[in-house]
C-alpha cells in the first residue's frame, strides 16, 4: 500500500506587471553637415585666334574677324554681392616686323547678359563683361579691325589676354 502526502500547496498564477509600460520607443541621433564653397573662376573661348583678311579700305572700312563671333563662357563663384569681372588686355600693338597697327584699331561688340562692347588697349585691361554673385554666364564678342590705306603690307599679330576674376 502506498501513501502520498501533499505538502504546502501553491498553484499561484502571477503575471508580473511590466516594470514599465510597454509603450512606444524612439531615439534620435544628429549629424552635422558642412560644405565648403571656394572662390573659383573658369573661362572658355570658342576660338583662341581672331584673324582679319586683307580688304579694300574703301569697300571695307572695318574688317570683321574671319572666325565670326567668339563665344565666351565665364563661370565664377564668389561671395554674395561681389563682382566677377572679365577683362582683356593686348600685349602690344599689332606688329609685322617693325611695322605696327595700333591695337586701338581693334574693337568689339558683344551679346549676352553682362557683356559690353569695347576697344582693345595695350596699357590697361578693358572690360569685356561683369556680373554680380556666383554663376555661369555666356556671351559673344565680335571683333572688327578698322581698315586703312596707311597700313604697310605685312602679316600683323598681337596677343590679347582675357582675365576672369572671382573675388
Amino acid at each position: 500500500m502506498t501513501t502520498i502526502r501533499r505538502s504546502l500547496f501553491g498553484l499561484v498564477l502571477v503575471a508580473l506587471a511590466a516594470a514599465q509600460a510597454l509603450g512606444a520607443a524612439s531615439t534620435t541621433s544628429n549629424v552635422t553637415v558642412s560644405a565648403t564653397v571656394a572662390a573659383t573662376a573658369k573661362l572658355s573661348l570658342s576660338s583662341s585666334t581672331v584673324s582679319f583678311a586683307n580688304a579694300d579700305p574703301d569697300a571695307t572700312p572695318s574688317i570683321t574677324a574671319t572666325e565670326g563671333a567668339i563665344t565666351i563662357t565665364a563661370k565664377g563663384k564668389t561671395s554674395t554681392g561681389s563682382t566677377i569681372t572679365l577683362t582683356v588686355l593686348a600685349a602690344d600693338d599689332l606688329k609685322s616686323g617693325t611695322d605696327s597697327i595700333a591695337i586701338t584699331n581693334l574693337t568689339w561688340t558683344s551679346s549676352g547678359a553682362g557683356f559690353v562692347a569695347g576697344t582693345m588697349n595695350k596699357s590697361s585691361a578693358q572690360s569685356v563683361a561683369s556680373w554680380t554673385n556666383s554663376g555661369s554666364r555666356a556671351g559673344t564678342q565680335t571683333y572688327a579691325l578698322a581698315n586703312s590705306w596707311s597700313y604697310p603690307t605685312g602679316s600683323y599679330t598681337a596677343t590679347a589676354t582675357y582675365t576672369l576674376t572671382a573675388p
Binding site: 502506498t2 501513501t3 502520498i4 501553491g10 498553484l11 502571477v14 516594470a19
Partner: protein, 157 residues
C-alpha cells in the same frame, strides 16, 4: 492427521514464500514545494544583458519510504513563452541549480521532461536546492508580456 493438514501446510508455506519473495511493502512519502512559484524575467537591453537571470527559486523536496529506489525531479514547460501571437521558444530558457549533484543544469523543453535532479534511496530531511533560470535575450524578441507554465515533478518509481 498429517495427511489432512499437509495441504494446509503447503498453502501456508506457499503464502510465506510469496510474502518473502514479494517486495517489501513500503509507504513512500514525497514532498515537493517551489517558492516562489513565479519565474520572472525583467525587461533588459540585449546589448548589455545577453542573458536575463530571474530571481532564484527554492525547490524543497523529501523522499521517504523509498528504500534503495531511484527518485527524480523533472521539468517540462506547457509551451513556448507566449504573448498573444508573439512567441519566444522555451528552449531560450536554461537553468543552473545547486547543490550539484544531485541537481544539474539544463535547457527547458515543451516536449520532453528534463531532469532537474536525481538520486536514490531516501532524502529523510526536507532539503532545499536553489535554481536560477535564465532567458537568452535578443533584439528579435517582440514587445509583450510573455508567460508559460513549468511543471516540476518528483517521482520515485
Amino acid at each position: 492427521m498429517s495427511r489432512r493438514y499437509s495441504p494446509i501446510l503447503a498453502v501456508c508455506a506457499a503464502l510465506g514464500f510469496i510474502l518473502l519473495a514479494a517486495p517489501a511493502v513500503r509507504a513512500q512519502t514525497l514532498t515537493l514545494s517551489i517558492a516562489p512559484s513565479t519565474i520572472a524575467f525583467a525587461n533588459a537591453d540585449p546589448d548589455t544583458t545577453p542573458s536575463i537571470a530571474a530571481p532564484s527559486i527554492t525547490v524543497s523536496y523529501r523522499v521517504r519510504g523509498n528504500a534503495s529506489g531511484a527518485w527524480r525531479i523533472t521539468l517540462v514547460a506547457s509551451g513556448d513563452l507566449t504573448a498573444g501571437s508573439a512567441t519566444i521558444p522555451i528552449t531560450n530558457v536554461t537553468w543552473t541549480a545547486t547543490p550539484a549533484p544531485p541537481f544539474q543544469s539544463g535547457t527547458m523543453s515543451r516536449t520532453l521532461a528534463q531532469t532537474l535532479a536525481s538520486g536514490s534511496g531516501n532524502v529523510q530531511q526536507s532539503t532545499n536546492a536553489t535554481v536560477v533560470f535564465r532567458l537568452s535575450n535578443s533584439w528579435t524578441h517582440n514587445a509583450g508580456t510573455y508567460s508559460a507554465s513549468i511543471v516540476f515533478t518528483l517521482t520515485a518509481p
